[in-house]
Subunit: 109 residues, 2 copies
DNA sequence: TCAATATCTCAAAAGATGTTGAAATGAGGA
DNA sequence: TCCTCATTTCAACATCTTTTGAGATATTGA
């Protein structure tokens, strides 16, 4: 995860429809769901959903596969969890341990 | 952490200067650093830095305190780590365990 | 091959965000 | 009090992003 990827990922998540799509796909699990079902859940036009799904896929937060007539989208979990690692990298000049998730407590103290 | 707070936080982190400020303050640790020092590190004008610091503070990702003539900014660690929790909440319909950080592996499998 | 379904692409308009430089504020020291 | 340093505010401008609606593309089954 470099700075450009992180910027792209955060920009993707800063839009209401896209944030909802990601949460929907995180909840849906690895099997994902078709673009049309995402659109129905959002109550948005197909072009709008397509625009946002493309945005998220370009940013690497979701992935797609074709299955018959449908295109199935699913969350890319490592990309999501990688974001907080990028943010917390070198936290407190390395005096705390982000891997053990003690970073927050250590830094807060 | 609700949806509006998350959207605001992600929007804050989707801008190059602001992402760099947050990373700088995360590395600086709980003592933080003065606005001027942040500006020097970024090589940006004072009005630009002030604009972005305000943005980040309004979003709850950093906090400030006055110390003599300087205003010292520091990272709000729980707000940062809360973002990934918001994203991963109800992951795989609750079939995996985000608290134990096994979510990624479980969902990937 | 034709019709139906699912999704994507495109350009124009509308809306949101970031940058700039000058001026204002607020705190501390002479 | 007056001057200086540190930071914020403001308005105008430039840039980027999102929405809309129409049309294009791809896949399947009859």
């Amino acid at each position: 995860m470099n700075e450009l990827q992180a910027l792209d990922a955060f920009a993707s998540l800063s839009q209401e429809t896209r944030l909802r799509i990601v949460r929907l796909l995180v909840i849906a699990g690895p099997d994902g769901m078709p673009a049309g079902a995402v659109g129905d859940a959002m109550g948005a036009s197909s072009s709008k959903i397509s625009f946002h799904l493309s945005h998220l896929e370009r940013a690497g937060l979701i992935q797609s596969r074709r299955e018959a007539r449908s295109i199935i989208y699913s969350a890319v979990y490592p990309a999501l969890s990688g974001l907080i690692e990028f943010l917390m990298k070198d936290c407190c000049q390395g005096r705390c341990d982000p891997a053990a998730d003690t970073c927050t407590q250590t830094c807060e103290a």
